[in-house]
Symmetry: C2
């Protein structure tokens, strides 16, 4: 049996699905789109689509991201343009029955973006929204056996979303990834509120300040101050070159 023989292997459809996270109104939110076709018609789902025949996986993810949000992805592996959100591969989901139509293997990607204007989904603003993660995942469990319409996300997207959220939660512990949720210039307090929203905990502002300003390369002063959060003016920072945090930021144990 030659490896060139097309009958030697079954054909698969390959897609990318996106877990796009942001922090809005002190809550961790994910981008979801409403499905216009069966299966799961009218239900919310993660954005995504087919990988093209000549396209790399990360390129497909970046393309879908641009199509759905207008965001410009910044894959650390292939340093792209600025203004970019963080993009990384998350995991691959290939259960034979995950799509009732055919055999689909989906390579999920994780995107972390600063707070943005309302999303657009191919120009249709009604069919895309930022939803609090807590709501999406709680609905998954609590409403599962009640109302089919209020049930989980389409396909296995609740699992993918949960995996993406968990990845984000652990990765901001030991990396500077939390700055991907912030605008280019931000204050220490704004960065702290990112951690608090993603982890769902309260952090001591004084110790947090010492920690992040005392880690070399994490933050660099941007030269100005702002009072947009009220109170005493706060120094503005940009993300520094450091990508890993050692020692890590400690997450309080609930």
């Amino acid at each position: 049996m030659s490896p060139y023989d097309p009958s030697a292997f079954p054909p698969f459809a390959v897609t990318v699905d996106l877990v796009v996270l942001t922090v809005r109104r002190h809550a961790l939110c994910a981008l979801v789109v409403r499905r216009g076709e069966p299966p799961f018609q009218g239900r919310w789902a993660l954005p995504g689509g087919f990988v093209r025949g000549d396209e790399d996986l990360s390129a497909a993810a970046a393309r879908e991201l641009a199509e759905e949000t207008g965001l410009c992805a910044h894959d650390p592996a292939s340093p792209g343009s600025a203004n970019g959100a963080h993009l990384e591969q998350l995991a691959t989901y290939g259960d034979p029955k995950r799509d009732p139509r055919m055999r689909v293997v989906s390579v999920a990607h994780l995107v972390l973006a600063p707070d943005l204007p309302a999303p657009r989904a191919g120009g249709d603003a009604n069919s895309a929204r930022w939803a609090p993660v807590e709501e999406l995942l709680a609905r998954d469990t609590a409403f599962a056996r009640e109302d089919e319409q209020e049930a989980p996300l389409a396909f296995d997207h609740a699992v993918i979303l949960a995996d993406g959220v968990e990845r984000a939660r652990s990765k901001i512990e030991y990396s500077s990834l939390a700055t991907a949720f912030c605008p280019p210039e931000f204050t220490v307090g704004e960065l702290r509120r990112v951690y608090e929203a993603v982890w769902g905990v309260a952090l001591d502002p004084r110790n947090f300040h010492r920690k992040v300003t005392g880690t070399p390369g994490f933050l660099v002063p941007a030269g100005g101050t702002t009072t947009r959060q009220g109170g005493r003016p706060a120094q503005l920072f940009r993300a520094g070159g450091a990508t890993i945090l050692n020692p890590p930021m400690l997450r309080p144990e609930v």
Copy 2:
């Protein structure tokens, strides 16, 4: 354009590749097989194969593992049989040109196994071996532009291997995964030598002992002692129920 239309998406071949790691003679080793066919005929490659049409990704990885090594995989997600090696999904590689024959997306998996008798590759012992990862990855860079025959692993397998090794190196920091490299019963010294081999560093035996025995749930006494390492008899342990280590094991910085 209906999603049911087969012409709406290009067909892909989907494979699993395995990064199977073990510790032999105080060195971290990976399982490689010799390719019998072009492309890369005669070169070493990671074991792997096509995913079947009705098969889950982790099931395909476990099947390939059994076929190549006789190992029984123990996927934490789907608790299987005992005697099992640790198996987890690593990452997915889908560059359009990674296989010159056709469009292949490979879902790489990471396997951690205790030291084993010489591997068998479909009964052919000559075509499979444990190779020190240092050698496999050094050859990748040092010999790349000299002798084509001594060049890197086939396809993009050097990258996949490097990613798998990096995953293993970081994961033993904050999890009890290092015990997957040990036989069912092992001593603290044997576990320490696993860490030393994977990280390529020397650890203080006294502090290591205190650390692992002082972490609740990491190790449970198995009730006996052994002198197989020489010196004073050492207590035997089994892996405890704890899977995450908090605080983590600290890796000395080079």
